[in-house]
Symmetry: C2
Subunit: 355 residues, 2 copies
């Protein structure tokens, strides 16, 4: 099994009020680069930041890395629009960062990105792959994509209180800036991504379509962002079986809606509960409180854990947190920003692991 991780950035992630509060924009731009390093090396190497929320919740990359250290899957990070350097090896598909979706074109070369990603996906010799993502602001662009396609789905949040109305307002502005109404891109997913999506969507969709065409089994490892990509694939005419593997944290937040849209999109849904409530560790408590929830292929990675091995994953997650300078009791060692699934304000946070 290989996990493919397209990693990118957008100007959308920098929009005031939907970006991760507590982190300056110039730090948040480093999140996907740091996530890639955590997956590749076990800790940030050249990135100047460890992505940790203001409440001390570490990036889902730490969970994915913990699973990798137990299960041992291969990883290929794809540069899907990184804005900052990374010490991790990345596949270069010539993808630039995305613009603000409230501009006329969020991803001007969405179709070309899809084509190059398609060729990459089709070239892989693997029998099965899981594709994840890390892109700050990604649930807002996911809402943009779903809305432009006319799909009824909603999107998740990396914080307990989902600022969905704020996201909807941004998406409304974005559609208006592209002279589109909801549903206008029905059947034209690359036009939807070009107008109101992000380059990571074009990359994930292209890799998935190419891999499926080559007979590779594809799991989309993620939550509502992957629902949006799955919708794009169905609108593109991809009819092969598709799976989505996410975490219980997303499933708990989304309730019946998640299963309904997966059913509508003819996607098999796998939900994995890592059992974080069994441990008294601040990072796991944050996830149980609804922070982060998913991202950086976390759900896809968790779905690979064999029966009886989850305890070993939790042990390893504690070790990774320790390596990242996150104390089990709630002190973390870095003024980092929150996980890549996080395009929300944190002004609604209760509690707080940091002084």
């Amino acid at each position: 099994m290989r996990v493919i991780l397209p990693a990118g950035t957008t100007e959308t992630g920098l929009i005031d009020g939907i970006s991760a509060a507590g982190a300056a924009p110039e730090l948040m731009e480093h999140t996907p680069s740091a996530d890639a390093e955590i997956i590749a090396y076990g800790a940030p190497t050249m990135a100047p930041v460890t992505p940790v929320s203001p409440n001390g919740c570490p990036t889902p990359a730490a969970v994915t890395r913990a699973v990798r250290e137990v299960v041992g899957f291969d990883v290929s990070v794809v540069d899907a629009g990184l804005a900052q350097p990374t010490g991790a090896p990345t596949v270069d598909l010539g993808v630039d960062p995305g613009a603000d979706i409230r501009e006329a074109a969020a991803v001007p070369d969405a179709a070309a990105i899809f084509d190059r990603a398609h060729a990459f996906g089709a070239s892989l010799p693997d029998d099965e792959i899981a594709i994840g993502e890390t892109v700050p602001g990604g649930t807002t662009t996911a809402l943009g994509l779903l809305t432009a396609l006319g799909e009824p789905g909603t999107v998740s949040s990396s914080l307990p209180r989902n600022p969905l109305e704020r996201k909807r307002a941004v998406v409304d502005d974005a559609l208006a800036a592209s002279d589109l109404a909801a549903g206008d891109c029905d059947g034209r997913p690359l036009a939807a991504i070009r107008a109101v999506g992000d380059p990571v969507q074009a990359t994930v969709a292209g890799i998935a379509a190419g891999a499926l065409e080559s007979g590779i089994d594809v799991t989309l490892g993620g939550g509502t962002q992957m629902v949006a990509v799955a919708a794009a694939l169905r609108h593109y005419g991809v009819s092969e079986p598709l799976s989505i593997a996410t975490t219980s944290f997303v499933a708990d937040e989304q309730g019946d809606q998640l299963g309904e849209i997966c059913y509508r999109l003819n996607c098999e849904l796998t939900v994995t509960d890592p059992g974080f409530e069994e441990r008294e560790h601040v990072s796991m408590e944050r996830y149980c409180a609804g922070e982060a929830k998913e991202g950086v292929a976390m759900g896809g990675a968790l779905s690979l854990v064999p029966d009886g091995e989850m305890g070993a994953v939790l042990d390893r997650f504690e070790a990774v947190c320790d390596r990242l300078g996150i104390d089990a009791g709630g002190e973390d060692g870095d003024d980092g920003n929150e996980g890549s699934d996080g395009d929300d304000t944190s002004d609604s946070n209760g509690g707080g692991g940091r002084p």
Copy 2:
């Protein structure tokens, strides 16, 4: 253990008479990109060629991959001047392909490459790394580097008859073009690489120096090209312990000279014999006949094989060859070019596995 693989190209590799005969230059430029894919995925993915010599000897990448499939080490490929795209993930250090060493400057920004590679090497969280290389024409630029430094070493060849005089003539021209005599760069290894080396040397040396400074154990996985890099490191003032791990094929060709220069450079030398003579497989026969010998971290990878596991590596090597379309009896399936350690003509070849 992590294997770091700087992969690059130079115009030197295209010099008539020292480049791999039987492969058009535009194909040889793909060799490092294909090698990276073989290491990452087990077979070429987006590269249009499988690097195989005209005699049917597969690139050493196939051996390194076989070891990886048995031993399971991590790999980080570094783009050290790739001229063609690769589907493998690569670390981007902003390195351009090298010029012809007979121009005034072979690697104009050698010092900057070294600095960036140093930062990358210093950032790694590993306890120990092995560093390999893949760069066509690499033994000629190694001879250039050794000569400019005033080191007495000679260089290996990927073919049974080493066209050393031809390489010396190229290096003489190269030194003249840079207004240098042999030994003029004593103590100035980056000036030597700039004048008559290649960008892979600057990258390997920088990563090694940075890693050693961070307390990481460093093995240079390769033959005479790594001797040249070790010499550069000693001339730079690096005094930490350094190991070179190469194959018995290089050691057999070089005789006492190899041990002598390693002793002179205060480098521990590990030679691993994979026991290819035990199998009747054309690829292994080619190696036993003196083809390829080393490259793409082959010696470094072989040094990681635990006692009793070499038989499993040979089995896996046969499987990798099969995957690459190389028949055990001597038919290969691709008009590829030879391994990355090969900057020789093949007009001296006897035998021939292809019609």
